[in-house]
């Protein structure tokens, strides 16, 4: 089980008069019980995380663990780690969670990671994530932007040609800069929309993922990579390189992808220029760069 060294979490729900102990087992004390009902993780059908709660479904029974019952954010993250560790060991458990920046913990292997040559602590910054999101959108939609710009140039040119009357009509040479300028404006508008979307995306992540405010320990080694909340970092869990497909390097971050989903964001500013180049080469030796 990955993250099997995280301490178990006790959650008391006064509203439902249930007490949960989540660790190597999923135990539930119902009202007045001295002996809990202890479930093995293999009995759990699905776990879902939403902004408000964790829902654990077993055959015939569903338990809701409200996040308000766990006021400490670190404890919430610990609980998430325990759940995701259980999902890693029992892949039959269906696990649903909102989007987040940190890789889900069920992707990690519990092994003996060789001493990570690149290990650093830090927090994610809104600007670098937004900027990277815009760049990623640009990369993804770059061709579409070009087509939109070209089409808007042609369209403006045609509109000018058919709508403008008088002497200027014969001097159509002026239509070209006007069309190009309007094409540029169209692209700028799209870019602006992208930036707003990226900002919204970050705000969405920020609301859903308490981990974004936490100090993160980033590690890159020959075995794999990891980005884990520093208080949960053990140095033994990592995602092997073979789990990832490719990586993208922007001005501010390295982003590693698995099945077209970003799983690992490594901010460059945490390293010196020389180390950044080293890391780039290090990842490049293991993954394809796009």
């Amino acid at each position: 089980m990955a993250f099997e060294s995280l301490p178990g979490v006790k959650v008391v729900s006064h509203a439902t008069e249930q007490t949960f102990i989540i660790g190597d087992f999923f135990a539930v004390y119902l009202k007045g019980d001295e002996i809990p009902t202890i479930y093995r993780w293999a009995e759990v059908k699905s776990i879902s995380e939403s902004r408000a709660d964790f829902t654990v479904c077993l055959s015939g029974i569903t338990y809701k663990i409200m996040k308000t019952c766990i006021p400490d954010e670190k404890k919430q993250l610990n609980l998430r780690g325990v759940f995701e560790g259980a999902v890693h060991f029992n892949p039959a458990i269906e696990y649903n969670h909102p989007k987040r920046i940190l890789p889900p913990k069920y992707l990690y292997l519990n092994g003996n990671m060789n001493e990570a040559p690149y290990i650093v602590n830090g927090v994610y910054r809104e600007r670098e994530i937004n900027f990277s999101n815009v760049i990623l959108l640009n990369t993804r939609l770059g061709r579409i932007f070009k087509i939109v710009a070209f089409l808007s140039i042609i369209t403006v040119f045609i509109i000018l040609h058919f709508t403008i009357e008088g002497g200027i009509r014969h001097n159509w040479f002026w239509f070209i800069p006007i069309s190009v300028f309007s094409g540029g404006i169209a692209v700028m508008l799209i870019y602006l929309i992208c930036a707003i979307i990226a900002n919204y995306h970050f705000a969405y992540l920020f609301k859903n993922d308490v981990a974004i405010n936490e100090e993160i320990t980033f590690a890159v080694s020959s075995d794999g990579f990891s980005a884990v909340e520093s208080h949960l970092h053990t140095g033994c869990e990592f995602i092997p390189w073979m789990e990832a497909n490719y990586f993208i390097e922007t001005n501010s971050v390295f982003i590693v992808y698995k099945h077209k989903k970003a799983v690992f964001w490594l901010p460059k500013r945490l390293f010196s220029k020389e180390i950044q180049t080293e890391i780039s080469n290090f990842i490049h030796a293991r993954l394809v760069q796009k």
Partner: protein, 488 residues
């Protein structure tokens, strides 16, 4: 933070023990798993477990790849507890002294030891231990080379998960080169003066416990033919599940019904609620502080400082100790009457319409033999000789002869001599094996005679010097005087 230790005196199924909940401790002594990552979580990689003391990995136990909880482990000693911090050594030696010599209560004696353990729930009891590796070798010198030990699996196939047993075979935590004759003599003197000696053992796997203190006491008890008792500490970390049939009744997955360690299975209803809660909150995968260092040391092997060997007398006595098969059989059989043995000899598996041991005749004979070897040597000899005499039971002869060959005894020697003299073609295949046994036995006897003569000479010399009767203690005293005068 100060350690918190809560102890409860309990009795479950006529088994008295002390249940201890240990928390906020630094985790100086414990076991940790070194897992090997696999690409798929359902693959079974080799699992190495280490017994550590502080930052020293002492014992390595490895379950081979694809093995399960019924697979025997490869065990070897990596290091010695003697190079650890002096405080730790002092605590370990005072625990058994306080309990055995000064008759302190178990809870009080173990208090300083609990403060060294890693967080967890422990079952503590006093039990008779067998100072061997479960295969007739004296425990102290049997783990220098890594190999598989029968009975080291987490659960025994023969006994099943439900049965209670004592993890009686020992693994040393001291280097064999630390064996000292004088310390053994001192312990033997204590025994002769009717003082209690014992040790401190920590259960590590299956039938095996690591002896943390009392190595010389174990040797002294073996030489004096007295039981070697230990305070045994067993981490309570396994769970016992209801049977699939029971679960089917309620149409659910099998539920946990008890907490389990070899010595006792505690029904979940009998566990104090506070202990149950802390047990559920604790994770099995918690790693010790020095994990990275321990991992590096895991692959090392024990370095013996000098080539001092364990005395032959001890090694020979260890050969007579019951082995793992005998102990397992003793647990599998509750009683075996002479009538039942007679029925087995007649080729029956049933006596008075009841299956004696098992439906498999070969298995029944072997189990009966092992059981008798553990419980009653005389009946074992009678039964084993009767089986070999019976030419209809030829399938069992090989196993019985191999078991007899492991014991140095005059009765066996005489029986083998008679067997060879019979010149029966049925036994022809075994003649070389019997010849080797007879030769070894004759050598053993002649060596024993020489030892006896030497002792007699020593005694006479002492007598002539002191001019009177004196016992072993006197001889030891004499030797000390002679040594001191030489040094002078």
């Amino acid at each position: 933070m100060n350690p918190i230790i809560n102890t409860y005196q309990m009795n479950v199924g006529n088994r008295e023990f002390l249940l201890a909940d240990v928390s906020r401790t630094p985790g100086v002594i414990g076991t940790t798993k070194i897992t090997h990552a696999t690409a798929h979580p359902l693959e079974r990689p080799p699992v190495t477990e280490l017994l550590y003391v502080s930052d020293e990995a002492i014992i390595n136990m490895t379950r081979p790849a694809k093995g399960d909880e019924f697979t025997n482990k490869l065990i070897h000693q990596i290091s010695t507890i003697s190079i650890c911090d002096d405080n730790i050594k002092t605590i370990l030696s005072t625990v058994s002294d306080n309990y055995f010599t000064y008759s302190q209560s178990m809870a009080k004696s173990l208090q300083p030891f609990f403060e060294l353990l890693s967080e967890g729930i422990y079952v503590c009891h006093e039990s008779k231990m067998i100072p061997s590796n479960g295969a007739g070798n004296f425990f102290w010198s049997a783990y220098t080379i890594r190999h598989e030990f029968s009975g080291s699996a987490t659960h025994s196939r023969a006994m099943g998960k439900e049965s209670n047993y004592i993890p009686c075979f020992l693994i040393p935590t001291k280097n064999p080169s630390e064996f000292t004759d004088s310390k053994v003599k001192a312990q033997r003197e204590k025994l002769m003066m009717s003082k209690k000696v014992g040790g401190l053992a920590y259960h590590v796997s299956g039938m095996f416990s690591a002896l943390l203190d009392g190595h010389h006491s174990a040797a002294a008890c073996l030489l004096n033919d007295t039981d070697f008792k230990c305070l045994v500490i067993e981490p309570l970390r396994d769970f016992l599940y209801e049977s699939p049939e029971q679960a089917l009744e309620y149409d659910r997955e099998p539920r946990i019904i008890a907490l389990s360690c070899p010595y006792v299975k505690i029904p979940i209803e009998q566990i104090p609620p506070a202990i149950l809660e802390s047990l559920l909150l604790r994770r099995n995968g918690v790693r010790p502080k020095h994990y990275a260092e321990l991992r590096k040391k895991a692959g090392k092997s024990l370095r013996t400082v000098n080539r001092k060997s364990i005395p032959r007398e001890i090694l020979l006595k260890a050969e007579l100790l019951p082995d793992n098969a005998a102990v397992e059989s003793a647990h599998a059989v509750t009683e075996l009457t002479d009538e039942q043995l007679g029925a087995l000899l007649a080729g029956e598996i049933k006596y008075e319409d009841k299956i004696i041991i098992s439906q498999n005749y070969y298995n029944s004979v072997i189990t009966a033999c092992n059981y008798l070897q553990y419980e009653d040597f005389d009946r074992f000899f009678k039964f084993a000789f009767a089986i070999i005499d019976n030419t209809d039971l030829i399938a069992t002869h090989k196993y019985i002869i191999e078991r007899l060959c492991g014991i140095n005894n005059k009765k066996i020697h005489d029986f083998f001599v008679a067997l060879i003299e019979r010149d029966d073609p049925i036994y022809q295949n075994y003649v070389p094996q019997l010849d080797v046994y007879i030769k070894n036995y004759d050598k053993y006897i002649s060596d024993a005679l020489i030892d006896k003569e030497n002792k007699a000479k020593q005694l006479n010399r002492a007598k002539s010097l002191l001019g009177g009767e004196m016992g072993e203690a006197g001889i030891a005293q004499m030797e000390a005087i002679v040594k001191a005068s030489r040094r002078g």
